[in-house]
């Protein structure tokens, strides 16, 4: 199948390794990957800040570019939720309303695509480390993704998954992290402390934006725990 891979703006700029891993995994599974170069961002920052007209300006060309895609895979739960769940709302009562629903229906978050659409869990990866998994809130609660990444991780050779004792937000929240930096930081500290309790070497997540926040705190505080995207773990051999 031809997979249209949408690598969100911050992954493109800051976490290319995560995106490259997705391409390599999908191609290894025998699919054709295309990455439309004209689109950069899904429009979530203005959308979450309440600037829906500005969000539509960004999202409209995205919708148009994705109109004919057989399957759209998004490299982040958060941006995936934007396209899958919030585009129909953003474009409600506009000429793009129907298209938004159609694209939403063909859009998948990466781990969900592998497990639910392709039915693949074993990618032949090896990652001999103790890890814990952070569920990005949008993937978890907007898209209901919980089992999929775990199904993938348990098939990784040498990997030991230790679950966090509490499910909580990492405190990133997009522009929230800059508008209310101290609340965001406090939430991140709680997350880091919970991760440290597991004794994991790595915090793995489907959301690089969450990892950016968690890693930002860990680095600043000189903590040894590292972060890595799910795709990189799955591409590790």
């Amino acid at each position: 199948m031809t997979v249209t891979l949408f690598i969100p703006c911050f992954m493109d700029a800051l976490y290319p390794r995560a995106g490259i891993s997705m391409v390599e995994i999908l191609e290894r599974l025998g699919h054709t990957v295309v990455c439309p170069e004209e689109i950069a961002c899904c429009g979530q920052p203005p959308f979450n800040s309440g600037y829906w007209a500005e969000a539509r300006t960004i999202a409209t060309p995205v919708l148009e570019k994705l109109a004919d895609a057989e399957a759209v895979v998004i490299g982040s739960g958060s941006c995936g939720a934007m396209v899958k769940k919030f585009y129909p709302e953003l474009f409600k009562d506009t000429p793009h309303a129907e298209l938004a629903k159609q694209v939403a229906a063909r859009t998948w978050e990466f781990s969900d695509f592998l497990v639910s659409k392709l039915g693949v869990t074993d990618l032949g990866a090896k990652f001999p480390h103790k890890v814990t998994f952070h569920d990005g809130c949008h993937g978890l609660r907007e898209l209901g993704i919980h089992k999929q990444p775990r199904a993938l991780l348990t098939k990784v050779q040498g990997l030991e998954l230790i679950e966090l004792t509490e499910v909580s937000c990492c405190g990133f929240g997009g522009t929230f992290s800059a508008k209310f930096p101290m609340i965001s930081t406090a939430m991140g500290e709680v997350k880091c402390a919970a991760a440290a309790e597991t004794g994991a070497e790595y915090i793995v997540s489907s959301d690089s934006s969450c990892l950016m926040h968690i890693q930002g705190l860990l680095s600043r505080q000189g903590k040894p725990t590292k972060t890595i995207s799910l795709a990189e773990v799955l591409n590790h051999r």
Partner: protein, 464 residues
């Protein structure tokens, strides 16, 4: 910036960094979380129960006029005096007038958030009435002259040591800091107040349209006593509290207890359908019920967010909210704090003054997941943001998004932006976290990730 938002930011910044506060709240909520999960698991289907509860409240709220008319005619038929108040001021005046008519001096109160909402105690005390909060947590915060910290656990921010010192100072009686002994001190103080109070004041958790009853949920027995001993009883309740049927309580009482306190049922769930009836041996001679609007009808008029009137004030959304847990209840500066407070306060007190509460969220959705009546809380926060930006956009913020849109939509600009970011990294790193750093809101406490020279799109292009 309005004083509301600057006050909020100041308090939030202070509390978020207060590790002692963080640990007190965490400890207080840990025992709640364990029992809540156990009680939820005991349900054969918590999810089906939630859906049914949501649909029942939907039915109640979307036929509110019909249910209120039925409720009041049933109440009045048994001698209850029903009053209607459009505003807090009207409700205060109605209550004060009842007290004046009864030549009352002392009022014993059981817990009622609506009375906090209309600042009732302050108004009554100004007129010379003595008002005593009987719920232990409310009693403690009343002694401290502060509002409740949490709608269900009013004194959860205090340690036993602080409460001991408070009792010592205010009551001259605190044998030790054992919760048991401190509770008994309060019990003794309160007993005499009950026996002498002229008026008993309560809130209401549910109002049953079918049978004309008001149901009060509590654990301590203070509301039971409030409704049993004084000669006059006054109940203040929001108009949204209705449930259509008596049997609906069979679902709502255990759900409220489970979500709110992790109990199968709270200790006392009591339905009142009138003052003392012929042949009965006790209870008030008069019962006044005040139905309060106070801009609830404005919330009702917003069909998109009407479900926030489903709220049964269980506090579950506060307990799971990472914002609430880190900034605490007093930081909000509102009667209703936490996610539901952030949703409804802009409707009750003005969007532009209170929109910051909707912005102060990572939109994680834990609240929506916890809500026993399925209020779409975190999406309502998004809608409040949308409504606030549409009616009064912030000039620079909108401009920033317009510029971002131009860059994101044009591959050449986007490439240039990434190049610029990569080139200026060393500069940014040199001023990291200082006043010169444009990213200081982030970098004051967190590092930025290093930006690699080759972006994903560069790799993709080179590969082809």
């Amino acid at each position: 910036m309005s004083t509301f938002v600057s006050d909020f930011k100041t308090r939030a910044t202070e509390k978020a960094g207060d590790l002692r506060h963080r640990s007190v709240i965490r400890t207080a909520l840990r025992s709640y979380e364990i029992v809540r999960d156990k009680r939820k698991a005991a349900f054969q289907s918590w999810e089906s129960a939630r859906q049914a509860a949501a649909e029942t409240k939907w039915e109640a709220i979307n036929h509110l006029d019909k249910h209120l008319v039925a409720l009041t005619s049933k109440l009045e038929a048994r001698g209850t005096k029903v009053h209607w108040a459009s505003t807090g001021a009207q409700a205060r005046e109605i209550i004060a007038q009842i007290l004046r008519d009864k030549k009352a001096r002392s009022i014993i109160k059981s817990k009622a958030m609506t009375s906090e909402e209309i600042h009732l105690n302050h108004a009554l005390e100004k007129e010379g009435f003595t008002v005593v909060e009987s719920d232990l947590g409310e009693f403690i915060v009343q002694l401290r002259h502060e509002p409740p910290y949490h709608i269900v656990f009013p004194s959860m921010h205090l340690t036993r040591g602080e409460i001991k010192d408070l009792f010592q100072k205010e009551l001259g009686d605190a044998p030790s800091d054992s919760p048991e002994e401190l509770t008994m001190v309060a019990r003794r103080v309160m007993r005499q107040k009950y026996l002498t109070a002229d008026v008993g004041f309560t809130g209401g958790n549910f109002a049953i349209a079918e049978t004309g009853m008001i149901s009060i949920t509590e654990n301590e027995g203070n509301a039971r006593l409030t409704a049993a001993l004084p000669k006059t009883m006054v109940t203040l309740m929001g108009i949204e509290k209705v449930l259509p049927r008596f049997s609906d309580l069979a679902l709502f009482l255990p759900m409220l207890a489970t979500a709110g306190a992790g109990q199968p049922m709270t200790c006392y769930n009591t339905m009142y359908s009138g003052p003392r009836q012929p042949g009965e041996c006790d209870g008030p001679e008069e019962w006044h019920v005040i139905l309060l609007d106070n801009r609830r009808t404005e919330l009702l008029a917003d069909a998109e967010q009407r479900d926030s009137l489903h709220c049964i004030r269980c506090g579950a959304c506060l307990n799971v909210c990472p914002i609430f847990r880190n900034v605490g209840g007093h930081t909000y500066g509102t009667t209703y704090s936490g996610p539901v407070g952030a949703v409804i306060t802009p409707h009750l007190r003005g969007l532009q003054d209170w929109k910051h509460l909707s912005n102060a969220s990572s939109l994680c959705g834990a609240c929506t997941e916890a809500c026993p009546v399925k209020i779409d809380l975190h999406h309502h926060l998004l809608q409040n943001r949308r409504n606030a930006s549409a009616s009064e956009p912030a000039f620079f913020e909108r401009l920033a998004y317009q510029i971002f849109g131009l860059v994101a939509n044009e591959p050449v600009f986007w490439s240039l932006a990434k190049k610029l970011g990569w080139l200026t990294q060393p500069l940014q790193r040199a001023v990291k976290g200082s006043a010169l750093d444009p990213a200081k809101a982030w970098t004051k406490t967190r590092d930025l990730p290093p930006q690699p020279r080759e972006s994903f799109k560069d790799w993709w292009r080179n590969r082809k």
